[in-house]
Symmetry: C2
Subunit: 505 residues, 2 copies
């Protein structure tokens, strides 16, 4: 048995957790429990599942103090407002998804009554989305709540009616265990079947989880390299399954001369906060900012803030070391100039922000590598056409941001169109960090941001863990209630016409 | 240059087509034209694209006589009603998708206005689906119109706003060319940009198409083995793309004792027609039928029809040869008993229907192999519990069918639930062949029926060729019109509340 340890990134001190790596036999037991829970969960009503999600939210908030303190010790992220706010977000997400499944639009219910068609008589066809089955969830180091055991993938899968088996993140095993305890305790008290939520520890156990035939889909937030490893495991399964990976994102940000003139100081403050928040370890961190060459004062002000900033602990040694390696590559291979070198803290994995600079014309793939941590590349341009050219070397991203003044938008339309091509979310006069959890949010993007045209944040994330079924000429008693003729509790498309739910929720 | 030939399956005679395999350089030109067309198509209105789809439908019908005659000569399928009906279906599909994009629900438009959230002020977020980019379409041999150049994948992609490059099927190159000519002529006359529809010929050109960086998605209908080859090519791309494959399906059908008693003769006729229609070359053909052991008369009647049936031409030599090989395997490895051996026709690739029998208890993976062609395995059972056990050995399918009487449904509910698990469409007291094209149709299923949770038939097929974008705090002029505040032409979810379109279409 391999013991699982935890490391305090503020000190580098490694401690025992008392948790052992999950054995192969136990992984199989846990997935079997999930499969057995699925047989029950799939028959539960939307109202029951909404209640479950709310109970889970309450359970998280009940354990708030313990969860936040545990995560602060394991991640080095500030307890308040950062981790406290993240827990609030996780609970909010569960409650929002409860509303969404009560409302029922996510079912995409469609009824085509029998009738004549140009090809002859057509049968009665009714379609709806149903849960896909047990989901493996691999969380990220940087969001120990909102993208981990208690995060969006778990909320999405349970909302759909699919059980979850989480792989505990090696950077926050105790937070993972505490989150599992809070969720599992709440689920059990609510009356959810055993196996509704499971957890495994250790890399081997994670690989076995993805290979397990009872697992029907994988939600993953993490590095491109780990994502590729899991995709390879899926490629070797007898039955491939969907892999929803959020992988890598540089998040270009563009500032026009007009914006600098109108609100240069505000942009300085906003940009600095955005690339250094959570020590720059946000998947939507702007990694490259295009600024006019004339905006020397703005660059100087960003540099001054970076010089003044205290080191912040990075999440783990791997991220800390990779930061230095990638920064070195940006300078050597990308030929970026160092404006501010990071200062290393006295203890643990701490670093202060780093700022590099380059000419927009010199932006290549070598300078467009994501450095997880507080690093910003400033790309100077004379004319906005240089930005459009440089963006061709920037990998597609979760987000792209542009700061401009009202009178500039018309001329910028082609640039905005190219940002829509390369990103899942385009931000105007704001910052990509701080992803709003809402009905319409999209957190995804073309490869390598994500590997599918789906989102991991917002209500439509539920779609990932559903699959359609059509029933042809089914007896009414065998149809899900939402597809029966008299039912009016969810929006439906009937014979091509969208109809709203008629009952109060 | 390699010349493309065509074979008459009724005679086996091979003829020149005058078409050459598309060169590597020409494949690159065609995808470049598609990319350039995409830049224009993406800016077109839904009304414009609806007009394009209707023009394409008109174009197909204008060339109906030529198209049907060409396809009849290349496929051996009857010109009427089969191929004529299939052309009608292709045209209907284009017109239905025109209606769907006019209606606009497929955009999944969502608006979240800025507002307070438990995590602080939230920005304005608006989401909508946009076209994914040029789509490669690989059609199937068995539907030279509805699942080929003029088929559902082409209609879906163009409805979405994505150009199409079709790979001509080697079993019907002239039909592919004629379909392309009809569509391309209609598109050009309508004013669509050059490159809206393209076509390539030859296996190497098809592989190059899938590898081409300008191709953003692949729609495929064909064999599991070819699907795997294309998936491998995608795995080697620098940027992976979605592959929507419809691959393989056995389509189990179950008849209860009650159904035999009430309408045995009708079931005999329906089942026979369903497994022999189009010489059994339908992806929804029932390949295995579970019948009560007591239903000897039904089996005898199916056998008698098979004995009397004339040979029908199979689509090509490969299918003809594989049919014999797989039938042999079912007998040797699956230990099925031959009730009727197929008779080979005098010319070409013709065969009469084959019927095999086995005990339900003996159904294994070896007897559950799809034989493309007029072959039915009858699995005899004493109790319906044997069917549930046998289904575990049957691969997941596009469809599953059950024939029963009203008083039996309650007891059959668990069996129906297991059919929902294993199939994308469950058919009651009907036949899986003859897929209705409608808003709610689902033609997909768990692996190996398809490799994604999407459909290739019905309006929701359009979703495959779309991706979401979120706009955060965007100036109104830069938003798609469907996301502007005053717009009322499509259904939208606004601050969580679904609202119907208010304007007449």
């Amino acid at each position: 048995m391999t013991a699982i340890t935890t490391t305090d990134p503020a000190t580098g001190v490694v401690s025992a957790t008392g948790i052992e790596e999950t054995t192969t036999a136990r992984v199989a037991e846990i997935t079997a429990e999930a499969a057995s829970a699925f047989a029950e969960l799939r028959t539960t009503s939307r109202a029951w599942r909404a209640g479950l999600l709310r109970a889970l939210a309450d359970g998280l908030e009940h354990d708030r103090a313990h969860l936040v303190a545990t995560a602060a010790a394991e991640t080095g992220l500030p307890a308040t407002p950062r981790l406290d706010g993240e827990l609030t977000r996780s609970a909010f997400q569960l409650r929002l998804f409860a509303e969404a499944i009560e409302e029922g639009g996510y079912l995409e219910a469609i009824i085509d009554h029998a009738g004549d068609t140009p090809m002859g008589p057509g049968p009665d066809v009714r379609r709806m989305l149903v849960p896909i089955g047990p989901v493996a969830v691999f969380g990220a180091s940087n969001f120990p709540f909102a993208f981990s055991v208690a995060g969006g993938d778990t909320a999405s899968a349970l909302a759909a009616g699919s059980p979850v088996v989480a792989k505990a993140h090696s950077s926050h095993p105790l937070t993972s265990q505490a989150s599992f305890d809070a969720l599992n305790g709440a689920a059990t008290a609510y009356g959810a079947p055993r196996g509704t939520i499971g957890i495994v520890f250790g890399q081997r156990a994670g690989a076995e989880l993805v290979a397990d035939p009872r697992i029907a889909a994988v939600g993953f937030t993490g590095s491109l390299s780990t994502g590729r490893i899991l995709l390879d495991i899926i490629g070797e399964r007898e039955r491939p399954i969907p892999f929803y990976g959020e992988l890598s994102s540089l998040n270009p940000l563009i500032v026009t001369a007009g914006a600098v003139g109108a609100r240069g100081e505000a942009i300085t403050a906003g940009l600095f906060a955005s690339f250094t928040a959570s020590a720059g370890q946000l998947c939507t961190k702007p990694g490259i900012a295009f600024v006019p060459r004339s905006a020397g004062a703005l660059v100087d002000a960003v540099v001054a803030r970076a010089v003044d900033a205290a080191p912040q602990a990075l999440l783990n040694e791997r991220i800390h070391d990779a930061f230095g390696t990638i920064r070195g590559r940006l300078i050597e291979e990308g030929r970026a100039e160092s404006l501010v070198a990071p200062r290393v803290g006295d203890d643990g994995f701490s670093l202060s922000p780093a700022v590099l600079a380059i000419d927009a014309a010199d932006v290549t793939a070598a300078v467009a590598e994501e450095a997880f941590g507080p690093l910003l590349v400033i790309a100077r341009y004379d004319d906005v056409s240089e930005v459009a050219a440089a963006l061709a070397a920037v990998p597609d991203s979760l987000t792209a941001t542009v700061h401009a003044e009202p009178e500039e938008w018309d001329a910028l339309a082609p640039l905005v169109a190219s940002l829509e091509d390369m990103a899942g979310r385009v931000v105007f006069n704001g910052y990509p960090t701080g992803v709003r959890v809402s009905w319409g949010q999209h957190h995804g993007g073309p490869w390598p941001a994500t590997n599918t045209a789906h989102t991991s944040v917002g209500v439509t994330a539920i779609r990932r863990f559903l699959r359609p079924i059509a029933w042809q000429d089914a007896p009414e008693t065998l149809l899900p209630e939402e597809l029966r003729d008299g039912y009016t509790g969810v929006p439906r498309r009937v014979d091509g016409v969208l109809t709203l739910a008629r009952l109060a929720r």
